[in-house]
Structure formats: structure tokens, C-alpha cells
Chain length 257, copies 2
Amino acid sequence: MGQGSTPSTARQNDATRATPSAAPSPLPVSRLRPAYQQVADQLRELILNGSLTSGHRLPPEADLGGDFGVSRSTVREALRVLASQGLVRTVRGTTGGTFVSHVEPDQVSDYLETSIGLMSGSDTLTLADILEAREMLEVRAAGLAARRREPRHVDALRAAMEREKHSRGRSVKFNEHRHFHGIIIEATGNGLLTVMTEPVFRVLQSRFLSPDVPREFWAQVDREHETIVDRIDAGDAEGAAEAMQVHLSRIRDAYHD
Amino acid sequence: MGQGSTPSTARQNDATRATPSAAPSPLPVSRLRPAYQQVADQLRELILNGSLTSGHRLPPEADLGGDFGVSRSTVREALRVLASQGLVRTVRGTTGGTFVSHVEPDQVSDYLETSIGLMSGSDTLTLADILEAREMLEVRAAGLAARRREPRHVDALRAAMEREKHSRGRSVKFNEHRHFHGIIIEATGNGLLTVMTEPVFRVLQSRFLSPDVPREFWAQVDREHETIVDRIDAGDAEGAAEAMQVHLSRIRDAYHD
DNA sequence: CGCGACTAAAGGTCAGACTGTTTGAGGGTC
DNA sequence: GACCCTCAAACAGTCTGACCTTTAGTCGCG
């Protein structure tokens, strides 16, 4: 995204600026948008407004260049932009081409993870911001999970807990811990929650988790997880949310800059 | 994102697969990654691990091509990918070049907005998912806002409310309504919340808001907004959250497929 | 001193050729 | 007729080398 985002309109007229008629142009300092961005914008617009739907095959790059009146290189740069936003996907070979793609949740999560990671690197985001967002999402997610849980979720949670309890290595423990929280989010059945919560959690684990938390700390984590699972299993939404709140408040100490 | 995301590692070895030694290679069907993606991946890695920090100026495209052993066009395609993810930005002119950029929250919001919009277009996300996520975020956000509000926030809220109340046109009302909710999020002082909540709200407004909600409905909205502002102004966190919950539950009806 | 022309450096664009990948069609073999 | 091999076509991927445009500094004229 960034350049050429959705809400930006009113820029197509750049091309019609040849006339040296006054045209005071408020104070737009910068010049005309690069051609590859204009092409990307137009194609994106076609995708967003539904003119091109998922699965649709675009003309070959050479033809697109002809249509837009630009060279193939320019078209390709435009396509790279769209592809990196998950809007299209390219395939080689005679049946290949550029296809309008449906956005993959994992893709969005990955993007969010790197973005949040970088923003927390500068001072755009603080650790406190991230912890707070996490609690807002996961506490209520635990409640929802309790309401909607299915046997397979509870089974998966207990299995993850068991593995976490018996694992030695730090990295293994981290993975299971992450898995545990991931299952709860998934049990809400809300894809949007997954997309937003997972990256927050991953950034916390990979950038802010203290390397030297005592053994006893993890033992307590195990007990708290058990409480959470029990309440989810029982369908006790408020209890699960409360247990999650307690859990998250306590493990705040495990994260620092 | 999508191709070449952060957490995906273990793929660099694609290049070292020339040896015809067994190497059963599970079932990777597809070939080696395109050069532009490999270049993008490597540069991204340098940015993520902090080797290249915000403001750093990369070598000119031609030089980069030399460094990686690829042509300038390939480098440019890689740079388009990174630029569209907000990791770099290019500037023309003699003092120009490619600079490592800090991720802009607005950029991330824009990306999320189009992604959520498209996912809700296919059946990856339902309207219910989005409404639910919104409530999870905004209800607690209202509570936080009450705890942390500053005079300017309260002033801005009352001003937006006033404008909303006296506005006629639908589009104006929508804008003010959106502005109202935006200020509350901002008053939490948590940038991550802004980044995640704004796009959710914008998708709801632009894709799911019924065009034919009765006049009386909006009058009720105005009253509910007033209650929310009063409680935020009073620093009543629980009251504000409760009022927001009531408000959001009621306006669910204004959204449909 | 100031202002305009020149210049260098960088990204932006183009044209054209070649490479690599994938599939389907055609033809040959059992 | 079923199977396999070869070949050609249709794409995206890559490269080369040229030229255009933007921008800031520099030089020199007034």
C-alpha cells in the first residue's frame, strides 16, 4: 500500500497537464505520479469495484502495455505492486498469466507482523500499546471461544498444554504457548480476529519476550492455561474471559524492551 | 506481502539445489523463486534485522544490480515490492535515491481496509465477523478513552457531534459519524488500536451501511453519542464502555449485506 | 548579490531480444 | 485405442542499453 492506496482518487488528470494554461496548482510541489503507479491504481480500482473478480485472468503483460500506452516494464512494475498487496498472482507457462487473486488471511497477518514490528522499532508504537491491544482482543476472544468452542478445540488446547508442560527447550515452549493462544483465537470462529491478533502476538513473542524468565514463572503459566481451558470447556464465557485477563496481566512482566 | 513475507524462512536454499544428489524435495512442483523476489527478500531481511535503519540510503539501482548480479529492471521490480509494503521510498533527482522508510500507520490502515474489504467480498469474512471485531475493539476503546481523555478530545467530540446533528446530506453525516468514532480511538492514545480499528470501521461504512436508514434512527444515534461523550468527559470508563456497547449493538441493524 | 543556465546524478520509461516454464497438440509406438 | 515422446506456442522472467525527467548544486553573467 502506501502510495496508491484505496481512498486516494482524483489524480488521473495528471496526464492532461500538457496545456501550459496557467493551472496554478495549489502547491503540489511534487510532479506527476509515475506511470507504474497510475497503472497499478487503475487496475486496483477495477479489482476493488468488482469489475475484475477473483480468478479473472488479465491480458498478457505486452497487451496490457498496449492498452495503457506504456511499455511492458512499466506494466510489470505495476503488477509487482499489486502482487505484493495480494491482489493478483502471476503464473508462468502457456496457461499462465496474471490472475486476480483472493486475499489470503495469512498474507495479511504476515504484512501486519512486519509492519507492527517495524513500528515498534521506531517509537510509533510502544510495548505498552501492543500489550494493551492484545489484552483487548484476547480477553474477549476467550469469552467468545467459550461460547462457541467445539470438542476439537478443547482437545487441541489440552494437547498443546500437555506438550507445553513437558517440553524443555525455550523455543519449544514458546511455540506451544503461541499455539495455545492461537487455538483460542481460532475457536472464536472469527477470521478477522485471527488476522489481527496473531501478528500482535507474534511480535510480542519475537521482539519483546524476555529471554530469562524463571522456571517457576512458566509453571504458573501452565496453571493459568489450565484454568482457561477448563472454563472454555465448560462454556463459561465470563469465567474464561476473566481467567484470560488474569493471565495476560500477569505475563506482562515477561515482556520488556 | 504474500510472497516473501517475514516469517517465511528456509527458502534461500532454492539456489543451492543444483546438485543432482537425490534431494527428494517433498513435492515442490514449482521452480526456483524469481530473482526479483529473492532480491526483495534479502533487502527486507536487512531492514527487519536492523542492518538498514530508517533514513538509510540504498545504493543506486544500477549499483544494487551489480551487487546482486542482476539487471536494473530486476532490482526495480524488487524495489516496487518493498515500496508497496512501505519499507522503502524512492525519490527522484540528483539527491534522490531509495531510502529505508519508517512504516506509516495510515499506510497500514489503507492496506487493511482494502484487504478486509476484499475478504468480505469473498466469503472469507462475514459481516458478523466484522461487526463483532468492531465491538471488541471499540467498547474497550471507549473505556480507555474515558480514562485518558484530554480536553482537546472532548472538545473535538462535541464539535463533531454538533456538526453531525446539524448536517443534512447523508455523506456528510457519514463522515462526521466516522470522525466521531475516530476521535474516540485516537483518545486512547494507542496507535495500534487506531491502525486496526479505523479500517474495520471504514469497511463497514463503505460496504455495508444501509442506504435507507430512517431519519429517526440517526436522531437516536445522536443521543447515544451524547451519552458516550458525557461519560468520557466525566472520566467514567465503565460507563463509557457500556454506552458504547449499547450504541454498537443497536446500530448493527444499520449494516447489512 | 541575485538570478538564470548548465550539469551531474538519480530514478522513470522505453524498445527489443532472449530465457525458462508450462501445457497442449501431433505423431509415433505398443 | 492407450500411452509416451517430441515439438511448438504462449506466457512470465530477465537482460541490455538507450533515452527522458526531475532535482539540486554550480558557475557565470548582469
